[in-house]
Symmetry: C2
Subunit: 326 residues, 2 copies
């Protein structure tokens, strides 16, 4: 049987890298990588080439016609574009329409959250989703909750600092809001199942291994490490004030050197409001929003539990995400 | 058993009037009418009062707190607000959230069409739908396609002019695009079934009796009337040019005396592009967009066929919509 032909955009990024690994592990896909002309010479892409992965050059800022020729013939096109570049997918959507791509996976891969002013990132994605619907492109939106790898606090001993991207010792409101978590290494495994499944066509799907509150995560880490976790309580009103300030700061900048930091602050505080105050990133809310539950679709699949990730991190086997990417 | 308590906004309008009739016919609902303070003295509302329908005064331009008290205790709140006033529903959505209304029916009641720049009316509704999702209000969106009553051309003899709202003798592109049609008198009958049905909670539902092209409608009318229908062919490019011009004209006006006419021209041409060129208003597209099919949900219900409406109109028993409303 010939392999399912997948074209993946963004393989040099965190999400794309994990999606690629999961697809190759599955062994039923022939994966090619869609690379923008400006990135063709990146060492990471050269390394993919040396591993025998076909590189397809396509310009998201070029013409729809050209891009549609480049992506033609692939059964599934997957986009894992950077957070700041969501809208560059619009050309890709139109190219998929023209090429009659049987399934497009836009860059979801975020928490469960409605559009309409909660998270700027989500609203950027909504523009892309609406274009998909306008162009009648067959699609699946896949959201994964938050990663295990960026969901634990630091220990006072500094023992797990090596695996920590951003300190997570602020506890918001009462610390009781449950949020959906997926180990980043499982994203590609879920994707491999979802894109072979006709039940997920023209649907939204969410993945998770655990639904845990901040208090539960802290208790688990204290139990496993034998250390007390030092936290700072942040009230709901303080978090909202931080979010509003971060939005103002972001609006005030142009492309100056602080742009990325301010964008990240806005993104972080919006995530926190959505997860911890609004409780958007939950099973119930996903069902309300019309998502299919990947755990119900694939009951045989055992995702990596959050507890296992903590064990690995405490054993010195963790890995800080985004190493070398900034 | 106590009756299902429904609060209906917009009963003096075309859609609201038909919804009211359908709900009362069903005989399982206790219907109250939500009326804005500025409309309390309208003769139509006085007439409802005399028929024994409770009138509830609520201000969509007032505070959410006040409005939530007014709508509290109703099991279903239905909005059939005018096309130009869609966004005034935002307060009502927030009031439903506060009052924990078990089901809100926003003002859908249009053709099947995606958001994102196809129809301004649809995009106004999308703002309301996103607010519903943000506030986690239980909802059902009900779309009905286009009404039988405004979907037939005039006859040269003038015989059916009395029942004609807008002349429909332009045939767009090849005249072959199928569109979903519902008799306006069936809207309320569908609504009565949908709001008692737990399967439709937090879903979109579409209704129809027929899926007919312009060519099929003309052939049917010619056969039944014995007259030749005189049509004007409008090419796809000509329709797109009309739509673009109507959008420009609308953008250029403020609230001058031509405002309503220009709004209607924009609306009409956007509907035409969506129905006849994009083929949005179809069973297949509704399924793609995630709608449930009311005909599959209620296979026992026999909606009024388009052919029956034509027979009535030809027998002099038709009724022009919006009589006395402009």
């Amino acid at each position: 049987m010939s392999k399912h032909k997948v074209l993946l955009l963004g393989a040099t990024g965190e999400t794309g890298g994990d999606v690629l690994t999961g697809l190759l592990e599955d062994n039923t896909f022939a994966v090619s990588l869609l690379v923008q002309p400006s990135s063709a010479d990146k060492s990471a892409n050269q390394a993919f080439k040396e591993r025998g992965l076909p590189i397809i050059i396509g310009d998201l800022n070029g013409s729809v016609d050209e891009l549609s020729k480049v992506i033609s013939g692939f059964q599934t096109v997957i986009s894992t574009i950077g957070a700041a570049d969501q809208k560059t997918q619009l050309t890709l959507v139109e190219a998929c329409a023209l090429a009659k791509t049987p399934r497009f996976i836009p860059c979801g891969f975020t928490t469960v959250c409605p559009p309409g002013g909660v998270m700027s990132l989500r609203d950027d994605k909504e523009v892309v989703y609406q274009r998909i619907l306008r162009e009648k492109v067959p699609y699946t939106i896949i959201d994964v909750g938050y990663w295990h790898q960026i969901s634990f606090p630091k220990l006072a001993s500094g023992k797990i600092d090596y695996a920590t991207l951003v300190p997570r010792n602020d506890v918001f409101h009462d610390g009781e809001a449950k949020t959906l978590l997926t180990d980043k290494r499982d994203m590609g495994r879920f994707v491999a199942r979802i894109i072979k499944d006709s039940r997920t066509l023209n649907q939204k799907v969410f993945t998770y291994s655990d639904s845990l509150s901040q208090n539960e995560i802290i208790a688990l880490l204290e139990e496993k490490s034998g250390e007390k976790v030092e936290t700072t309580r942040v009230s709901a009103s303080e978090l909202l004030a931080r979010r509003d300030q971060a939005r103002k700061d972001y609006e005030a900048v142009n492309e100056d050197p602080t742009f990325w930091m301010k964008r990240m602050m806005r993104s972080q505080t919006e995530y926190q409001v959505s997860k911890y105050l609004r409780k958007d990133n939950t099973v119930d809310n996903a069902k309300y929003l019309g998502y299919l539950n990947a755990r119900e679709l694939y009951p045989d699949f055992q995702p990596i539990k959050f507890e296992q990730l903590l064990d690995e991190v405490l054993a010195g086997k963790g890995q800080r995400p985004y190493v070398g990417r900034f």
